[in-house]
């Protein structure tokens, strides 16, 4: 997998243009790779015969990983692939003494061009790739309407096999549409293409994204609106790089603009966990509570009690939210994170909180969140309890003004009524925006969370 940019550390092998047994020549285009920005064609540096393809279409592989083995006269060597968009134009002309290369034949077949009908413009009258594409442009064949632009690296514009797709076969998507979809969090599989052959065009993505924004905006006003049933706007995972870039931008902004203050307290979870275990004995296993559900429910209610921390910093002033939209950070297995929110989290039961957390987490990880569920929370919880660390000093998600963190509950000696006992303890932290609130206000929020967790039956 060639590096197609400084920020690229992996790519998706979209399509192979050769198969095992094909002869290839230096400069031949052998594959199409998707990068965060676009689909790019990859050429080989070697002459030889393709011995084995090591990567399947749709597979994501890190930069530097071998894609295929090409055997020359001296034994097998991994493909040294370089992008066709490199500074020096790729040499793809096929000498007339040879029949057209498999790559060219493949390309011609794909474009519906009969090689025998072409007049070659290459050395010794050989038919070149440019000739094939020229023929396509002239005849404007519509078999591959997206591939008609000549002389540029072209995206095959298809969803890799691994991507979630709601319909059979592959989607036909223009590269611009694909990029827009990744940027705007639109699930391509849910779109109906308006282009030729039902291909998805950029306009389709823009429409869906606009519908999603409307739904999200309505949600912020406290009037949650279900997205239209016909084209549900959903969030699709952006490529990891895109997600990293987005996180980098937001966190840098937070660090630059938000003067954070940090508070921390230790909470005895004895009563909360006791109550939880009792409830779990009655619940179906699949519905069982985990400690995070209690902490989230307690935080939502505490945020209602301390409204100075539940809202957004907008245009130099604090705007309290009309409800508690409790965001919680879901780390994704491939890296990166998403922050879905529980609407009106202060008024749902612990069992219901658990059900929403389970549902949202599952769908966040499978790329099936609705845009409305990713609308701006009014306060966010970072629960690193799963990661085995005791406390988290968080970075606020602007324009929110507070982030509550929970570490791993740990058993520690703890003084209770003048005696030392072993208790499950959790470190709760608050990162507060000092423009919007002072430490005393923040302390009230942590104290409220503590008090609520001592009376779990009232949650």
């Amino acid at each position: 997998m060639p590096s197609l940019g400084a920020d690229m550390d992996e790519g998706i092998l979209l399509e192979w243009l050769v198969k095992a047994g094909d002869a290839v020549h230096r400069g031949d285009i052998v594959a199409v790779v998707e990068t965060p920005k676009s689909a790019v064609e990859v050429e080989t540096f070697d002459d030889g015969t393709v011995q084995q393809l090591l990567v399947e279409e749709g597979q994501t592989v890190p930069v530097g990983a071998p894609l295929a083995v090409i055997a020359d006269g001296h034994g097998a060597a991994p493909v040294e692939a370089v992008p066709a968009v490199a500074a020096t134009p790729p040499v793809v002309a096929v000498p007339a003494v040879h029949p057209p290369s498999p790559v060219l034949r493949h390309r011609a077949r794909e474009l519906g061009v009969d090689l025998d009908q072409l007049t070659g413009t290459g050395p010794d009258g050989a038919v070149t790739r440019q000739d094939v594409e020229h023929a396509v442009a002239v005849h404007a064949v519509d078999r591959h309407p997206l591939d008609r632009h000549v002389g540029r690296p072209r995206g095959r514009g298809r969803v890799p096999a691994a991507a979630p797709t709601g319909r059979a076969g592959r989607l036909r998507v223009s590269p611009l549409a694909r990029r827009l979809a990744a940027e705007q969090g639109v699930d391509l599989a849910t779109l109906a293409g308006s282009g030729p052959g039902e291909s998805i065009r950029a306009a389709d993505v823009r429409d869906a994204a606009a519908a999603g924004r409307d739904a999200a905006a309505a949600g912020r006003d406290g009037r949650p609106v279900e997205p239209p049933a016909t084209t549900p706007p959903r969030a699709e995972h952006a490529a990891p790089q895109d997600m990293r870039t987005a996180i980098a931008a937001l966190m840098s902004r937070s660090n630059r603009e938000v003067p954070h203050y940090y508070l921390s307290t230790t909470i005895d979870l004895h009563a909360a966990l006791q109550w939880m275990h009792e409830r779990n004995r009655e619940l179906e296993i699949a519905d069982r509570l985990v400690p995070a559900a209690l902490m989230l429910a307690a935080t939502a209610r505490a945020a209602r009690q301390v409204p100075q921390l539940n809202g957004h910093w907008v245009d130099g002033g604090f705007v309290p939210a009309v409800q508690v939209r409790l965001g919680f950070i879901v780390s994704l297995r491939g890296g990166g994170l998403l922050v879905p929110a529980i609407a009106e989290a202060d008024s749902v039961s612990v069992v219901e909180t658990m059900a929403r957390v389970r549902d949202l987490t599952r769908r966040a990880r499978s790329g099936r969140l609705r845009a409305s569920e990713l609308a701006e929370p009014s306060i966010t919880v970072s629960n690193l309890g799963e990661q085995g660390v005791e406390s988290v000093q968080g970075v606020i998600y602007p324009p929110q003004v507070a982030l509550v963190g929970f570490g791993t509950p740990v058993e520690r000696p703890w003084a209770v009524d003048g005696l030392i006992g072993v208790r499950p303890l959790v470190t709760a932290t608050l990162a507060g925006d000092h423009r919007a609130s002072d430490g005393a206000t923040g302390a009230r929020l942590l104290r409220a969370i503590d008090a609520l967790l001592q009376r779990p039956e009232e949650l």
């Binding site: 939880m276 275990h277 004995r281 296993i285 069982r288 985990v290 995070a292 987490t361 309890g385 799963e386």
Partner: protein, 84 residues
């Protein structure tokens, strides 16, 4: 249930929850939650699926028994023996 059957049941279930897990490299005494990065939701799902497969209810208090592949295997063997 034999230990082999129990181990295979455990691996099948883990693979359903973490499809890309490399269980071959997983040592018998490695901490499952840490090695496979299971969060508490994953763990509840593991308990749920194992309970259904093994045919007995696994309680919260049994969580320690599922800490490693070895302990989980012997727990499943004991649990299913208590049933039959």
């Amino acid at each position: 249930m034999t230990p082999q059957e129990a181990r295979s049941m455990l691996e099948t279930t883990l693979r359903e929850i973490v499809p890309d897990a490399s269980l071959a490299e997983l040592g018998g005494s490695a901490d499952l939650r840490q090695e496979l990065e299971l969060d508490s939701l994953d763990f509840v799902e593991l308990v749920d699926r194992l309970s259904k497969r093994a045919g007995f209810r696994i309680e919260d208090d049994d969580a320690d028994e599922l800490r490693t592949a070895d302990s989980a295997t012997s727990f499943l063997v004991r649990g299913s023996a208590g049933r039959s």
